[in-house]
């Protein structure tokens, strides 16, 4: 058996290799996945002592008069950690069109399947007033986008001030890998792409 200094250096080299391997593997998976853009809603963007970041809260407003997908409104059985979401293209973006317990089932509900869970809320109807559109909320594992303070605050302001047509102004740019996991690539803030890169 090698002596202590050699053993320490071997273990340290393995630890470093594991860290670098993790970053390279994730970067490759992120680059090779299919890119989709999902609407984001406003939420308190930062916490003290945890750096500057934007909380990625996926919220999509349904089209007027459109009903909630049944699997999102009533929920499905099983552990939400093992659920799948169906994504359907809607112009340049994607919307969440259903929820299932398996990848195959989710693929039947939309063009793309991703690991995650969600729910849909339909506001109560008030007599004499036009019915408000339902909102789909989803959790696909991506929760934060770390960014410098100035950009974090700018995104916070944009998220807090919805457009006149109630359209989302910030979108999460996500890569859906072959393993079905979502990996964050960046944010689309009013058309400007803030991407995650090495620099």
């Amino acid at each position: 058996m090698p002596n202590a200094p050699i053993r320490i250096l071997i273990v340290a080299a393995l630890c470093i290799a594991a860290l670098i391997g993790l970053v390279v593997r994730e970067s490759m998976a992120r680059d090779s996945g299919q890119e989709v853009q999902l609407a984001m809603g406003a939420i308190d963007p930062r916490a003290l002592l945890q750096g500057h970041y934007v909380i990625v809260s996926l919220q999509d407003r349904l089209a007027d008069e459109a009903p909630c997908p049944a699997s999102l409104q009533h929920g499905i059985e099983g552990d939400p950690r093992h659920h799948w979401l169906a994504l359907s293209p809607n112009g340049p973006r994607h919307t969440i069109s259903g929820q299932a317990t398996s990848r195959e089932e989710a693929a039947r509900l939309g063009a793309l399947a991703v690991r995650g869970s969600g729910f849909c809320v339909m506001p109560a109807e008030i007599e004499g007033q036009p019915r408000e559109a339902g909102i789909v909320q989803a959790d696909i594992g991506v929760s934060r986008f770390h960014i410098n303070q100035a950009d974090a605050q700018r995104i916070e302001r944009v998220l807090g001030a919805p457009g006149a047509d109630d359209e989302a102004r910030v979108y999460a740019i996500v890569s859906i890998g072959a393993d079905g996991r979502a990996r964050l690539k960046g944010l689309n803030v009013e058309g400007e792409r803030l991407m995650l890169n090495w620099w």
């Binding site: 202590a4 200094p5 340290a12 991506v142 979502a182």
Partner: protein, 356 residues
């Protein structure tokens, strides 16, 4: 006053009384090692190094936002490599304390690097897995350089991983905690390397494993009674090692005795083979077991065991009084029975000692 100073004073007194010859004074004192003291220069060097470290961390934190991602990642790798490299250098120069300290630091830096790498590159993952990776890395460093500090960090990270996102009372089908491996490994290393800190941490880890098992079974007294007996057997095994003068076995003896009493106490408040809880009989057994532990602690000259016995006795007395409410006559009768048992046991011990 240090031990050597006390012995020196006593020795001078004995020489004055003619009990010991003056010519033996030097030879007796030479058998006692001098306690290692840190001189002022070394203390200042440690303070300076600590302040330099804080200054570096503050500088990096202040500029963290402005750095490119690759620079931040390189900084983490460099900090970890520097700690591990320093520990290897300490091992080459036969400085075990320095090597141990730097390996502990390397384990902490590695844990921070796992978390910060996830943050820098927005890598999706479970916090639990990150803590397990940090724990595995810390154990690997500990085993490579015989570092008790890194092993303690390893047990702590695995424990944090077990506590993160875990559903308690979720049935036996739920995932087993990694502590089932980490705690016995830590205990083994503590006994082999003679580390008090590691012995404390791993003993708590073993009790945590028992708690995990108890939380996954039906909430019945039988389960907790079984766990208490098993921990009692562990305590007996650790006591045997303690009597064999195995270094630091006494720490396990104390913790396992505490664990056994704790599980027994909890069991008394759960249904015993039906709807009824342990009641007065349980409290009485608890009281007697606490008294017996105090006696055993005194017999073994084990402060921790004695203290645990005293605390347990207070707990049992309070539980008994709570059960009996304001019935002071009943309380008096039960405490009288306890007192008679304790006095009789003490008398019998005294008799057997006198006969011997």
């Amino acid at each position: 006053m240090r031990y050597k100073e006390r012995v020196t004073q006593d020795l001078d007194r004995w020489i004055g009384a003619g009990l010991v010859g003056a010519e033996q004074r030097q030879a007796i004192l030479a058998t006692l090692p001098d306690t290692r003291r840190i001189d002022a220069a070394t203390a200042l060097a440690w303070i300076g190094a600590a302040l330099l470290g804080v200054a570096l961390i503050a500088f990096v934190a202040a500029n963290w936002d402005g750095m490119a991602r690759i620079t931040r990642f390189a900084l983490l790798i460099a900090a970890f490599a520097a700690c591990a490299g320093g520990a290897a250098w300490g091992a080459v120069k036969a400085r075990p304390v320095l090597s141990n300290m730097l390996l502990t630091l390397a384990a902490l830096v590695f844990a921070a690097s796992v978390g910060l790498t996830g943050q820098i590159f927005d890598i999706v993952g479970e916090a639990r897995v990150a803590l397990y990776i940090a724990g595995a890395g810390a154990f690997a460093l500990a085993l490579a350089g015989r570092s008790t500090g890194a092993a303690c960090a390893g047990v702590a990270f695995i424990a944090l991983g077990d506590f993160t996102d875990r559903q308690w009372f979720a049935g036996v089908e739920s995932e087993a905690p990694w502590m089932l491996i980490a705690a016995p490994l830590g205990a083994l290393l503590a006994l082999r390397w003679g580390s008090a800190a590691l012995a404390h941490v791993s003993a708590m880890g073993v009790i945590y494993c028992f708690g995990w098992f108890g939380a996954r079974m039906e909430a019945e007294a039988g389960v907790f009674l079984f766990l208490a007996i098993l921990l009692g057997a562990f305590a007996a095994g650790a006591r045997w090692l303690f009597t064999q003068e195995r270094p630091y076995a006494g720490i396990f003896y104390g913790w396992f005795a505490w664990g056994a009493l704790l599980f027994f106490a909890i069991g008394g408040y759960l249904p015993w083979f039906g709807e009824e809880t342990g009641g007065i009989v349980h409290r009485l057994v608890w009281l007697i077991a606490s008294g017996a532990l105090i006696a055993l602690g005194r017999f073994d000259r084990h402060m921790l065991v004695t203290a645990i016995g005293v605390l347990s006795l207070i707990g049992a007395a309070c539980a008994l009084l709570t059960d009996l409410g304001l019935d002071l006559m009943a309380s008096a009768a039960i405490f009288l029975v306890g007192a008679i048992i304790a006095l009789a046991a003490g008398f019998m011990l005294k008799r057997s000692k006198a006969d011997a």
